[in-house]
Symmetry: C2
């Protein structure tokens, strides 16, 4: 296995370097990657100094200074124009220049998408990169895309999301011949809005996808589908709804178990035991990051509220993406379906 | 309080009269409504005969025969054309003819929407009736609409959904000045797809709605919004996703608590106690039915898998809708915003 080099947006996330740096280093130790910690040098050094010496082996990392910090309220277009020395822009340029293989950012996700698009550029033939998220379920996780990079989509975008999602699921989630569905409001062909109906037609035509047809909201959690495609508006609503309902139910359960009255100590103990396994089903840190598929390079975007575990997972995902050659297979899947995409774009 | 007359589609639902009849009669007893049990006479009589004598007081009901039965696989247009003596069509005509005040159906929901539209007709000025569902949350329930009657919407449809939803939430859920939000992918104005952005503009203009702005998927469960509007595609995905995730998490929790190993009996007991309160948060039977808003009459549509409790709640909702004069207030809310709707339709 090659040693991958991952550019880390060390200033990203609600907690900045104090969470990003230990997460990245843990992944570097575990999977043999080298991490480039991109950010304000003093802040990165402070985060390193806070770690035990055994956790900051100098072999694992390099600091790449970036003087500007992106604020969450800034518009992506402004960040692109005025923050050329921000950690996200510097990290993207490292990949562009071949000095790193991948980017991991828990910062402003709009900025990550914009910098990815404009600094790295798209895979030839890809019109819209898609943000994909891995949803935990009772059985195997499901890849859902797009979850917010493209608010309005056309059928050939959805078609390419399916091609890219299936490739990612095969390589990174290890699914053989992943089953792909379109998120709709009825399983039968012909159910859904016009975008769904036209996308369905296209997905039926390609040889390269194990196409199940339409799936419904409830199928996201049954484990009967591996990759689910939709436009970024619907996907983002679905993702935030799942997070919200998951955390709301977790909260209710915690309260009910703690208030259960009977034998409080045993109750609490049981609660902890069962609770941990239950919470794992709604734990988005398990998979850490959302790959941004379709760029000329590997980019993993993390939730702003990511913890160390999420950053570690995201960095490990970037490493796997690079060392398994997933990007190259993704390029191939897109070009093998170039004619069909061109046809779809024209209708 | 007037005595309302509710036409019940007795043949609807996965379990037909055996569930619908006891549910309707229980509501009739509890809230003083009279129910017209519409369906195949022998089947309705069998369901009645199965009940204890005290639960089938003849004052409570009347049987209205309808010879045809709708199959779940039939298309709404076919049902309209070929099943003129089906329970749903007969029930709708009872309302049209003034012999009943409301319809409750757990049958084919597409057929209920189509028969409602074409037999009852729409409130003058309403272009698209909307199906609204009541989502349980940690705090107060939230009204979400449209959840499937309109797959493609325009801004003035969303605007009318908001007017109708707010009226319903005020009268039936008892919310004073209900807070209305548009389901989107960011709270700031300007976030969302073009439908959301244009609907936002309209909702800002009316005086009649306590408009919060955009809300996200996670806000559906926090109790910080009372009415959430969206197109029927997004709403249906959101509804089915909530049901799916709720039941998946309930299932995981049940398994974890039962398998918890330690002191199995106490564990099971605790599990039951806490479990029931937990499950209530994802129990859609609590509210029973989804009102179809915007018709010239009151129609409550229930889930096919509805149990007796859900049918009772739905019938009670229909009774409240009638006796509180909600329909009349809904008509008023629509006509008070006629100019704004006309303007929106033209742009």
């Amino acid at each position: 296995m090659n040693r991958s080099v991952i550019a880390i947006d060390a200033m990203g996330g609600d907690f900045g370097p104090s969470v990003v740096v230990p997460g990245a280093l843990q992944a570097a130790r575990e999977c043999g990657a080298k991490v480039l910690l991109v950010g304000v040098e003093s802040a990165v050094r402070d985060a390193l100094a806070a770690l035990p010496a055994t956790e900051r082996d100098e072999e694992l990392f390099e600091i790449v200074p970036a003087s500007q910090v992106v604020e969450m309220r800034e518009k992506p277009s402004e960040i692109l124009r005025t923050k050329k020395d921000s950690s996200i822009q510097v990290a993207c340029r490292l990949v562009k220049q071949g000095k790193a293989d991948a980017i991991v950012s828990a910062g402003h996700s709009g900025a990550a998408v914009a910098c990815g698009m404009f600094i790295l550029g798209r895979i030839p033939g890809v019109e819209r990169p898609a943000l994909a998220t891995i949803l935990p379920t009772e059985k195997k996780p499901v890849l859902l895309l797009d979850v917010g990079a493209n608010v309005e989509c056309r059928p050939h975008h959805i078609f390419q999301f399916a091609l890219m999602g299936a490739t990612f699921a095969q390589d990174i989630l290890g699914y053989e011949n992943p089953r792909v569905g379109i998120l709709s409001i009825g399983e039968e062909e012909g159910k859904g809005n016009s975008l769904v109906k036209s996308s369905y037609e296209l997905l039926k035509l390609t040889q390269d996808i194990n196409f199940l047809g339409n799936v419904e909201g409830r199928d996201l959690f049954t484990g009967n589908v591996d990759v689910v495609v939709c436009d970024g508006f619907v996907g983002n609503v679905a993702l935030k709804l799942s997070e919200g309902l998951g955390s709301s139910l977790t909260h209710v359960l915690k309260r009910e178990l703690l208030n259960s009255g009977l034998l409080p100590k045993i109750g609490t103990f049981l609660a902890k035991k069962a609770f941990k396994r239950f919470a794992k089903v709604v734990d988005y840190a398990e998979y850490g990051g959302a790959p941004l598929l379709g760029l000329q390079g590997v980019a993993i975007v993390c939730h702003g509220a990511s913890n160390v575990k999420a950053l570690t997972s995201a960095t490990a995902m970037a490493h796997a993406y690079v060392t398994k050659g997933t990007h190259e297979r993704l390029v191939k899947a897109i070009s093998a379906n170039e004619e069909l995409t061109r046809y779809a774009r024209s209708v």
